[in-house]
Amino acid sequence: MATTTVVQEQNSGMSSRTKWLIAGGGIFIAALALNLYFFGATGTTAVFAATLRQSTPLILGAMCGLIGERSGVINIGIEGQMLMAAFLAFLANVYIGRVLPLGLTLPIAVLIGVATGALLGLFLAWMSVTLKMDQIIGGTVINTLALGLTSYFYVTGLTTQGKLQTIPLGPLADIPFVGPILFNNPPITYLTIILVFVLQFALFRTVWGLRTRSIGEHPSAADTVGINVNRMRYLNVTLAGAFAGLAGAYLTLEAVGSFERGMTNGRGFIALAVMIFGRWTPIGAWGAALLFAFFTAFATQTQFTGLVSIPPQFVGMSPYVLTIVFLALFGGRARGPAAAGQVYDPE
């Protein structure tokens, strides 16, 4: 009787996770040293604080992207979703702010931003799943329409009552050096970090997560056990859109406080690179986004302190060049969800 006995290799997930942790730790220490050397304590605090905050829209965008892709739907319309959400959140801030106090206006505006993102997610789901359009074109439609609509309807001169302020977490915020960076942030920034852990858990330890991953890797396997692939894709892509909407709300309500045409500036695309580099996991995306935002903040600080005289355009270029370098070195051979981008047609 030739039964095959299966001998398993130790699941290498754990050891590669420790590898990443060690690498991350090493980078952090190197970054710290570099900053202290060049910028001193206050400069370092500034850079690290900026890192955390600027990473927020990138992480949210990456989470939007990865929820979709894990479900099998590629979303390059994150940029458009962010932009549209920012615009509508801005308008909400302006007009509702004339009637209601800021304490009510701002949360409502955030919700409107989130809802806008979700609505555009629904649109993408409709295009990809029902209309069976090519998903990259679907994302392009969203980007084009968002840019067009927001530019068309935008009028200058609108003012708001204010934006989301930092919320110091009690005595923790007073800890020297660490306090201002970690414990004195505006609400969406805090929320984002919470979401990272929530989503990571949900994706790998819940029923929803298991099914989501299955429809993105092998939709027919999911179908044959009775999971409605296309309905799940609809729900997930809409949910993912909410994340992008939150990012848009962040940009206008927490970061800048107003709106400019095209203010997303490519962040939606950088978020895709972050997603790939983070291997389609929320924690990975968090790490990648922090790394990315750090380099950008570092470059800006360099220019700010006049450390090296670089023409401003090169500093402006740096996030984009960095993305390319990251992708080329780390992202290229990454294996995404196997069925991402393909239409699932059961019959």
Partner: protein, 510 residues
Amino acid sequence: MNQNNKEVVLEAQGLTKRFPGVLANDNINLVLHKGEILALLGENGAGKSTLMNMLYGLYHPTEGEIWIKGEHVILEDPSDAIARGVGMVHQHFQLVPVMTVAENVILGDEITRGGGVLNLKEAANKVWELSHQYGLDVDPTAMVEDLPVGTQQRVEIIKALYRDADILILDEPTAVLTPQEAEDLFRIMKDFTARGSSIIFITHKLKEVLAIADTIGVLHRGRMVGTVTPEESTQASLAEMMVGREVILTVEKDPPHPKDVVLRIENLQVKDDRGHLAVKGVDLEVRAGEIVGVAGVQGNGQRELVEALTGLRPVESGSFSISGQDSTHLKPRKITEMGVAHIPEDREKHGLVMAYSVADNMVLNNYYVEPFATRIIMHEDKIDEQAERLVEEFDVRTPSVHTPARNLSGGNKQKVIVAREFSRPITLLIAAQPTRGIDVGSIEFIHNQIVEQRDAGAAVLVVSAELDEIMSLSDYVAVMFDGRVVDVLPRKDATREKLGLLMAGSEIEV
């Protein structure tokens, strides 16, 4: 097994399925008794899988009714079928490669701690239990993609058992098993039916059907042409029902007249996609005018070997030469230009461009040379001319040479590839799974073509998982197991039993 127990567990009447332009199943009646093994026999394209998909709720019948355990049912989706105890083991496994066995088994019917949180420990335990109960021996924490194919099939079976299936549908289960693993599977099946469960299994293999089935239903072109028992049938009678005419089951050929060695492989080592050695040191020789068949269950390095020989995969160490010239690191184009013809294992992946017309596919290897192109300018008229000629010569059924390849049936797609490869003078022919998934008529045709090439002086290497094909074509049979050629036997010494043992890695005493 036990047909005195006449309780009917599954019945279908008038089951019909129409797709746009195709009548896949036509008015089929089917009865399955408790404790019975019903085999559904039919050649590729006869409609077997479509029928099963309807019984499992994956397809909705265009017409007809289904009863499960006496109850009339309408199956909206697989969960309806699963709820009534129907489980399916698919031919192309429906497993998520990057998830563990336990995760795959519970998918869709998850064990939770409450609040939607998974209880993976409990899942693993359950899998262990089932695995032991039925003698299936599977590790719940293994990543499916790391498992050998035979084990993956058992995961599929556990999936069905986990859902309390007592009607099991097996779709071409032995396609990926050695003869001995197939024996194991049959044992499991008999055990299953002895406990009162019932099985429908789909196959195109006549020997199996006679060995294991209690009842045989034969499908031909979407219709059920007969229901017989093994006692009253022979391979020939079944084949005739399957195909609708008398079928010659062996290839008639003259004895070979081998000449010089054309292909010489020396200690070849090749890695697979994951970086592990798949070919672990192969030595083999093929002479002009002979056919060497490589037998073996898929997954023992055959694919990587063929890809290395055709320049599609890098060689780690060792070498091979063609007509005396070292070809180990040559690019595919160079190898083709040396007179090598390659019928690839996956015709849709490597052999054809689906969206291209038949004519454009016919010049895939030589579109850049005269008379089809001068320098960089292509000559459409010459391309069409050749296509017309080849379509006629090789009896390719197509509305025109401008029809896209995707519109052709499997057999005709393969004929396009064969026509293309045979349109050049051949020194060495490498044919991998040349007749997989195609109708009997086309199989006959292609086998005859291969023998013709041999008689014209080509060296032929045929790699196939179908033992019957190897045995009917080969002059010599080489068996591949675990990345090595374990033995090479002249055809007259190669019996099924010997080959089966070799394919499973056993040593035989001569």
